[in-house]
Amino acid sequence: MSLDPSAILVILPEILLVVLAGVVLVLDLALKDEQRRLIGWVTAGGLLFVIIPLLFFFRPGDNPTLYWGGAIRVDWLSFVFKLLAFFGAAITAILAMDYEVIGKRGELYLLLIISTLGMSVMVMATDLILLYVAIETTSIPLYALAGMRTKSDKSVESGFKYLLFGAMASAIMLYGFSLLYGMTGQTNIYALAELFQQAELSSSPMLYGSAIIILVGFTFKISAAPMHFWAPDVYEGAPTPIAGFLSTSSKAAGFAVLLRVFLVAFPEYAPQWGTALAVISTVTMTIGNMIALAQKNIKRLLAYSSIAHAGYALIGVSVASVLGVTSVAYYMIAYLATNLAAFGVVAIYGRIAGSDEISSYAGMSRRSPTLALVMLVAFLSLAGMPPFGGFIAKVFVFAAAINAGLIWLAVVGVLNSIIGLYYYLTVLKVVYLHRSENDEVPLTISKSSGFALGLLVVAILLIGTVFAPWFNWAAQAALGL
């Protein structure tokens, strides 16, 4: 195989990311301390520079194509989730600029970029080897990012916990991959799918076993039960913008992989794993929402809420239909914008208030009405209120469940949304109705953060109102799988 130019062209975004990472490294060396905030802009700008050509010139055609010996597949699923990863990283870079000390370290942006690169490869990968390498490329920078505030014990704990959990989960997942390879001698999931249609393999208990083992790794990435234990501690200790990144881009990429591997490689067994995922989804939603009720720390609350949202999105995966995949993709689009906004507000306010306790949010609406408004939008969207993105997303997911005859699952989802509404509103109550002694001290929001939040609010509103283009993307992603 000689390298043909089109193969290079399809990984051009990834190559550009590597170049960007190099630029960031050099800038970190060249710039003085006070200038190093600029790197955040360079990162965000660079990611935008990658997004724009991707959006306009590198749209996948109607026929998905395989490149690099079948290791990657250029289709709408990878396209949509790639955009999500890049967008999430760009916003995170802007939000991270204001973060004390580490916001001025070039390494933060470098790790962020490489992690994004990992996600971008992850959502394209159709070969188990490449998939595993990509998942590691995503995770390892995230471990370092979570523990980057080395002076804070919580951050170190967060990084360590994430590392240990992550290493364990990916080891188990890799074992599952190796079992699949051992059974079939294949690592390409499309080739595996063909093999599994043969009768002798299809009833093998080995197959179920390895599917479950692989699921362990994936549920870890999307923080679904029972692999969700890491999320609250990691989110709480990690720098807030990074926690936002962890809960959005990383999770979205995890969902993309979950969809691709399970729907492509094991479509024959969709009833079985669909039921398993429906159960996981129920447990995840319920655990996330129930425990979120008792949280005093906003980051922990958002962590549990993010677990619950993984549960909602899993409904769409478990129905294993085109509508289901569409709803998952749409859910991730809406969730990414919403949760980034929520973590953005927490990052800004937490830096000024010096605390992430929910009680410290008292009087926030008087100190900065705009910030409170953004929080309102984000939290209502998380709760699934119209006219925000979260509402439409939830509607699609529940519709997919009803369409597939899983009415009980939809009911569980709706009930859970009601619980969710309660704790989101509790926070908003503190923000708007409670008072504190420094009510009168106005907050200043830096231009960069303001810009990022503004962008996210617009996105949330757009996703919630003008939903046709996003829906089309999501539907095409589902069809092209």
Binding site: G69, A71, I72, L111, V121, V133, I140, P141, Y143, M148
Partner: protein
């Protein structure tokens, strides 16, 4: 054929014994040494299978480089004496049950071959020559290979970020 099987059984016993020894050693240095022995015996197994390249890479990378670093860190920290780590009360029974299940499944798979897989197919004797490996690595698996290089780089950067004290800017 017979010498191969005898050799295999001996090596397998060594590998298993050293793995068990690694787990139960009270001294971290002995654990590390057992692991080295384990890696080496696995390397010889590769050699029997006709994969000298992988065997020697295993020795160089695992038994050589990585385990030297392990020993280095253990010695540098003076962490030879392993303390009995605290375990949750249910850990031991659960682990025993799970191990038993695994053993049963493995034996079942071995005896009944539920997958209908007979003997492993004989690979092309040239499959693991350096040239064949390179051919494979740099054609079919070029992309994973390159991504791995980035992965290793970023792992290194991550480790440095987390451990280095940051002073140089002040002095300049």
């Amino acid at each position: 054929m017979i010498p191969d099987i005898v050799l295999f059984i001996i090596l397998a016993l060594v590998a298993v014994a050293s793995a068990v020894g690694m787990l139960f050693s009270k001294n971290a240095i002995y654990s590390a040494l057992n692991l080295i022995l384990n890696f080496s015996s696995v390397a010889v197994l590769y050699l029997i299978l006709g994969a000298p390249f992988i065997a020697l890479a295993q020795v160089t990378v695992y038994a050589g480089a990585i385990m030297v670093l392990f020993l280095f860190v253990i010695m540098l920290l003076g962490a030879e004496r392993l303390r009995r780590s605290e375990t949750l009360p249910y850990q031991q029974p659960v682990s025993i049950i799970l191990a038993a299940i695994l053993a049963v499944v493995a034996i079942y798979a071995l005896l009944f071959r539920p997958l209908g897989i007979e003997a492993a197919s004989v690979a092309n004797p040239d499959f693991s020559s350096p040239a064949a490996m390179a051919e494979m690595l740099f054609n079919e698996y070029l992309l994973p290979f390159e991504v791995t290089s980035i992965l290793l780089l970023v792992a290194m950067i991550g480790a440095i970020v987390l451990t280095r004290k940051r002073q140089r800017r002040v002095q300049r």
